[in-house]
Amino acid sequence: MVLLLSAGASLIGPYNHMVTLDQKVESQWAQVENVYQRRADLIPNLVNVAKGYMKHEKDILTELAEARSRYAGAPKGSPDKVQAANQMESVLSRLLVIVENYPNLKADRTMQSLMDELAGTENRISVERHRYNEIAKDFNTEILKFPGSLYASIFHFKKRAYFEAARGAEKAPEVKFE
């Protein structure tokens, strides 16, 4: 009996550990979606302000607005959501290049603060993605090792995809201050 119980306990422990890790990955993913949402929320204002200055570049603004509604329409956590987020990102970065040609737009107070918010949001996205990658790495390592691999095959834990390393995140040098 005791033997059976302790055998049971030694099986449950690692399983719980896997579940905890899985939850962590999930909640960190939710963080990523939060900051994606933050970016999406900035777009209507951005389009409005830019419209007034960019008479000849309506196309990209329309494209941006469309990318946003596609993002808003995709169900949470779906591959479509991720795709829409990536599309939004690429349209936005093209827009920012075009904005460089409009000094009046760049000097606009509302535009400046939108650009600050946008830059801050892009940075938040990169921070949350980086954290997601770290946690996903822990999880993926766990399901490759024994006994995690066993549980993974029984309970269908799947390997998590990573974000591609951005902005020197792959180098990760030490910050040496106390």
């Binding site: 940075n123 949350e128 020197g168 180098k171 910050v175 201050f177």
Partner: protein
Amino acid sequence: MARVNDFTGTLSPDTRSELEEKLAQFERKTSTQVVVAIVPTLEGLPVEDYSIRLAEKWKVGQAGKGNGVILLVAKAERKVRIEVGYGLEGVLPDSVAGRIIREKIAPSFKEGNYDKGISDGVGAIISAASGAGYSPDAGASRPRRKKTPDLVLLFIPAFILAIIGRSLIQSVLGKAGLRTGRTRSSALFAGGLATGVLAGSVMALLLGLDLLVGGFVGLVCGFLAPLSAHGGGFYMGGGGMSFGGGGFYSSGDSGGGFSGGGGDFGGGGASGDW
């Protein structure tokens, strides 16, 4: 770790201790931790990456509140960043952080006035973080009223030290049998000046002031010491009391073992250059 971490020797000791005191007081009042870091280089990292790593390492701000701010300045890359903790993103949004950099910090940095840029920047951060919002005129650096108190702090102990020194010389000369005569007065005069200069220099070192200033004030003290030398013993008694004052002042720039409270950062804030 202190609240003001200047790894480049850019800030004047005055500004550093003033900011140190201001930030400590702000934390006592609101529990919000604001930390300044001036580094020589970002070691090849983008300023945002460097800054978030510093934030994760130092854990500025209180746990659960996320009320920490880091003002990071990188000299070689000429980059500034204000890193804002989760809990302050409402009162110190990215747009305000960006304006503080563009309107308060960068203009002074361009003129090479780092003291003013950082003081004004910290002033604006404190104003925003305390919920008072941001206006371009808020937190402008007040006219510097620090010089006078510093000189007074330097003068009084130096003067007392000079008097003590002079009376010591007097008693030594007395034991040597020299109670009158020209040798005695010139020895006393030279000795008085020397103790004055010595006392002034020591006080200048303690207060973080220029040695030349200390020496000069000490010289004046050495001159003036004979005027009040009649009651030497009396002054010696009073001397002990004012040393306490010196120690109290100099504790201002050590920062008194500051440590981060476990605050969280999510990459909010703004970056800029000059």
